[in-house]
Amino acid sequence: MREMINMIVVLTVLTTFSGGLLAAVKSKTEVQIENQVLKFQKAPAIKGIFPETTNDPLAERFIVKGDNIELQVFPGRLSDGSKAVAFETKGSGFGGPVGLMVGIRLDTDSIVDVRVTTHSETPGIGSRAKENLSFVSQFSGKKLDTNFSVKADGGAIDAMSGATVTSKAVSLAATQAKEIYQKLKPEIVKQME
C-alpha cells in the first residue's frame, strides 16, 4: 500500500512539474513563434497572393472581431487601384491542420489567389499542395459563389491524385474563408477606409 501511494505521488508530482515548466516555456516563446510564423509562412504566402501592391500588407495588418472569432486581416492595394484582403483559415488534413492564406478582392468578391501556409502533411504527397502551385492556382479568379468542394463531392476543384485528404482540407479552408468573409465583409470594408 505504501509503495502504491509512493508511486502515485511521484508520478503526480513529476507530471505536474513538467506541465508547469512547459506552460512557462510556451508562454515565453509564444510571441517569438508567432513572429517567426509571420515571417516564414505568412509573409511568403501573401507575397505569392499579392505579387505587387502599393502598400505593405504585413505592416498594415489589423484585427477584425466578429461573433466569437478574431480574424487577422492583411489588406492589399492592388496595382490597378482596387482593394483586396488576405487572411488565414484552417482545414483538417492528413497530419493535422492545414493553414490556407486566402486573398479576396473586395470589389468583385472573387479570389485573387490562395497559398498553403503551415501544415504537417506527408512530404512528397500532401505537401505538394504547398510546393506545386498547380493545385492551388485552380482557386485564382473564382467567384465566391463557386462551390469550392472537390469534384468527387460535387464541387469545382480537381483534387490532387493520391492526396485526396489534403485536397479536401484545402477546399474546406477555402469554403470557411468564404463564410467568414461574407459574415465580416462590412466590418472589413469599414476598417479598410
Binding site: V10, L11, L14, V25, I33, F40, S120
Partner: protein, 202 residues
C-alpha cells in the same frame, strides 16, 4: 574522479558512439542526414535533451520507484523534447521546418531512454552529464559525417548554415542522387559501419 568523468565523456565519442556502436537512433540518422545543416541541428537538439534528461533522472534516481521508472523517464524526456521543439520554433524556424517530425520523435528514440535506464538511473549527476554530453556530441558528429558524405556526393555542395553552400564540387560534377534517397542513406550508413569496424579491429 576527473579521470572517470573524462572516461564517461569520451566513450560516447568512439567506444559507444550511438549510431555505429550502439546502433541506436537510426530513424533520424537516416532521415535527416540529407544535408550537414540538418545533421548538426539534430545533434544539438539530441545533446540538449540527453544532458538535461540524464541530469534530472540522476538527481531523482533515489526518489523514482523502480516499478514506474519507465513512465517517469518518458515524462522527463518528453518535457525536454517539447522545450527543444518550442525553442527551435522560436529561434531557428527554418531548421524546425526541415527537421519537422523528427524532433518530437526524439521521445521514442532509444538513446535518451536507453541512457536513462542504463546509466543515469544508476550513477551520480556529474557522470550522467558527462555521459549525456559525450553521447550527444558523438551522435552529432556521426550525423554530420554521414550528412557530409550524402550532401557532397548526392548534391555536390556542403551547406554549414543559412542555406549558402560553403563548398561546391563545381558545375561539372554530376550529383549521385541515389545517396539522397532512403536506400542511399542505408548504404552510406552501412559503409561507415564497415569502416569503423575495420579501424576498430587494428
Amino acid at each position: 574522479m576527473a579521470l572517470s568523468l573524462t572516461k564517461e565523456f569520451t566513450k560516447g565519442l568512439w567506444a559507444e558512439i550511438p549510431p555505429f556502436r550502439l546502433v541506436l537512433g537510426l530513424c533520424p540518422a537516416l532521415a535527416v542526414t540529407k544535408s550537414l545543416e540538418n545533421g548538426i541541428g539534430m545533434g544539438i537538439a539530441l545533446t540538449f535533451v540527453l544532458v538535461c534528461s540524464n541530469l534530472f533522472i540522476s538527481l531523482l534516481r533515489n526518489i523514482i520507484p523502480s516499478k514506474v521508472r519507465i513512465a517517469c523517464f518518458i515524462v522527463v524526456v518528453a518535457t525536454f523534447v517539447t522545450i527543444v521543439e518550442l525553442l527551435m520554433q522560436a529561434y531557428a524556424y527554418e531548421l524546425f521546418l526541415t527537421l519537422g517530425i523528427f524532433i518530437p520523435l526524439i521521445v521514442v528514440n532509444c538513446i535518451p531512454l536507453g541512457r536513462a535506464e542504463a546509466f543515469a538511473y544508476k550513477n551520480g549527476p556529474l557522470s550522467s552529464i558527462a555521459d549525456g554530453l559525450g553521447l550527444g556530441i558523438g551522435y552529432g558528429f556521426s550525423l554530420s559525417a554521414l550528412a557530409s558524405i550524402r550532401e557532397i556526393l548526392g548534391n555536390g555542395t556542403l551547406t554549414v548554415w543559412g542555406g549558402i553552400p560553403a563548398f561546391s564540387m563545381g558545375p561539372d560534377f554530376l550529383p549521385f542522387k541515389f545517396l539522397l534517397t532512403a536506400p542511399g542513406a542505408f548504404v552510406g550508413l552501412g559503409l561507415m559501419l564497415c569502416l569503423m569496424n575495420l579501424i576498430g579491429k587494428k
